[in-house]
């Protein structure tokens, strides 16, 4: 009887009904809920929350990256937790607390390895992306920051305490880790340009940004921006700028001045300063709106209710928005039509049309911070 019912059900169920229940992941994303250690799964096209995934530990500082098939997310938590989440089943499929305190991570270009940057104990750990089994453990003399994926199953990172910059090659049986040089005093974050050509390391302990040419066999540190803001007094930095989405636009880098309420524009080729844009506060994220001349900027507390839009051609602020309380992050739709903005103290993610710069929708989330769309799976460096 039971078997008959099953067969009958199969026969009468149209095939498209099954397809209806499937979820393609290309327009999905995850929002970090920093206070509750949970994620909200969102659908970009529907501007909707699909569900919540809980039990990820301390996500008060967190980031994530995606597998090449956009099915799995690897979430890097403050408490050293590395969690693999399945977007299809909306469950945690693997989790390891691999250090006492960590800051971020990246996935290798082939999707096989996940590397985590740790504060305590300092160093980089590399895991099998499938099982989260430990593959390599590279200790450091301090807190590691700015970990990026470099093509060829490699990762680069820097050490806050010593200024050293490393390139690790994990393509062979044994990892080969090479010290590239010293970036300077207290590198606070780093980023790889979209062409994987230049690894840019931002300095907190001294003025400047240090570039390493990763297309070169033997990269050497090239320091620039060493004297910005020399004519004025530096202001307190109430939140470290983040470089992961540093804007590369119109042949320039748009960089956050540290201790200055300014964006610094630097020519990508000559590394000469092109312009300075006075802005509302200490920039935290400066992110290029895809397929446009604009960058969007948010700011450190207590000026974090504001987002500004700057034109990379004129270096002028063209819009100042006050979307909500404690704006922590912005994530663009891959082709730039919308920007999703997390408003921590409003417990909302706000969705703005980038042409009208008007809010078109909002989604509830508990103290949201980072927003990550699955298109990141195909972005070098992450």
């Amino acid at each position: 009887m039971k078997r008959f019912a099953l067969v009958a059900a199969f026969l009468v169920t149209p095939l498209f009904a099954a397809a209806d229940e499937l979820t393609a992941t290309g327009d999905l994303g995850l929002v970090i809920e920093r206070a509750t250690g949970s994620l909200v799964l969102v659908d970009r096209s529907d501007r909707a929350a699909l569900g919540r995934i809980e039990g990820l530990g301390d996500l008060s500082h967190a980031s994530l990256t995606y597998s090449p098939d956009e099915r799995f997310a690897y979430v890097f938590g403050r408490d050293g937790g590395l969690t693999k989440v399945d977007l299809l089943t909306r469950t945690i499929v693997a989790r390891t607390v691999q250090a006492g305190n960590s800051i971020g991570g990246a996935i290798s270009d082939d999707g096989k390895l996940v590397a985590v940057s740790n504060y305590e104990p300092g160093g980089v750990k590399v895991f099998d992306a499938d099982t989260l089994a430990l593959v390599a453990d590279i200790p450091a003399d301090g807190k590691t920051i700015g970990l990026v994926d470099v093509p060829g199953r490699r990762f680069a990172w820097a050490v806050w305490d010593t200024g050293e910059v490393f390139l690790g090659d994990f393509s062979g049986a044994e990892p080969v880790v090479k010290m590239l040089g010293n970036a300077g005093k207290n590198p606070f974050d780093a980023v790889l340009t979209d062409d994987a050509h230049t690894y840019l390391v931002g300095l907190f302990g001294e003025k400047g940004v240090t570039a390493f040419d990763l297309w070169d066999e033997n990269p050497t540190p090239q320091k620039f921006l060493t004297d910005y803001g020399k004519d004025g007094e530096d202001m307190p930095v109430y939140k470290m700028p983040h470089l992961q989405s540093w804007a590369f636009t119109e042949g320039q880098y748009a960089l956050p001045a540290v201790g200055r309420h300014e964006i610094l524009w630097v020519d990508r080729d000559s590394q000469e300063t092109v312009a300075t844009t006075p802005v509302h506060g200490q920039p935290v994220f400066i992110i290029a709106q895809p397929a446009s001349p604009y960058v969007w900027v948010n700011f450190a507390t207590p000026l974090n209710d504001t987002v500004q839009v700057v034109d990379s051609r004129t270096h002028e602020v063209v819009a100042t928005l006050t979307p909500g309380k404690a704006i922590l992050h912005m994530e663009f739709a891959p082709r730039g039509a919308e920007v999703w903005i997390s408003s921590r103290d409003d417990n909302k993610v706000l969705i703005y049309d980038t042409r009208t710069r008007e809010k078109v929708a909002e989604i509830k989330a508990e103290a949201p911070s980072g927003i990550f769309f699955t298109a990141r799976a195909h972005q070098t460096g992450l």
């Binding site: 920093r34 301390d58 403050r78 504060y119 807190k143 302990g205 307190p236 939140k239 507390t301």
Partner: protein
């Protein structure tokens, strides 16, 4: 229990100057903004751990001065532009687990 809480309040005059509304704002600030570097659970990050255990031996006046003036040569900024001395003392007491 209420009596105990009351007696602690009375021995810390600084806390008496902070309204309940402001106290809630300060607590939010400690967890969210201090938490950017010290962790939401205050177990540390780029900044040192600020748990009760980590601060057991710390003097409240010294802590409040660190909050107000920062630590030169580190990422700890001066919060004096945003906080009064009484508020910094309230935060020091809060971190040490000595606020009402």
């Amino acid at each position: 229990m209420t009596g105990l809480a009351l007696s602690i309040t009375l021995t810390l005059p600084a806390t008496a100057e902070i309204s309940a509304t402001r106290a809630a704002e300060l607590e939010h600030m400690v967890l969210q903004d201090c938490g950017s570097c010290h962790g939401l659970t205050l177990k540390g990050g780029l900044g040192r751990p600020l748990t009760k255990a980590a601060l057991a031996e710390a003097d409240r006046e010294v802590l409040s001065l660190i909050i107000l003036d920062g630590v030169p040569g580190t990422a700890m900024p001066p919060w004096r532009p945003l906080l009064t001395e009484a508020e910094a003392l309230w935060i020091a007491d809060y971190l040490k687990g000595e606020t009402p």
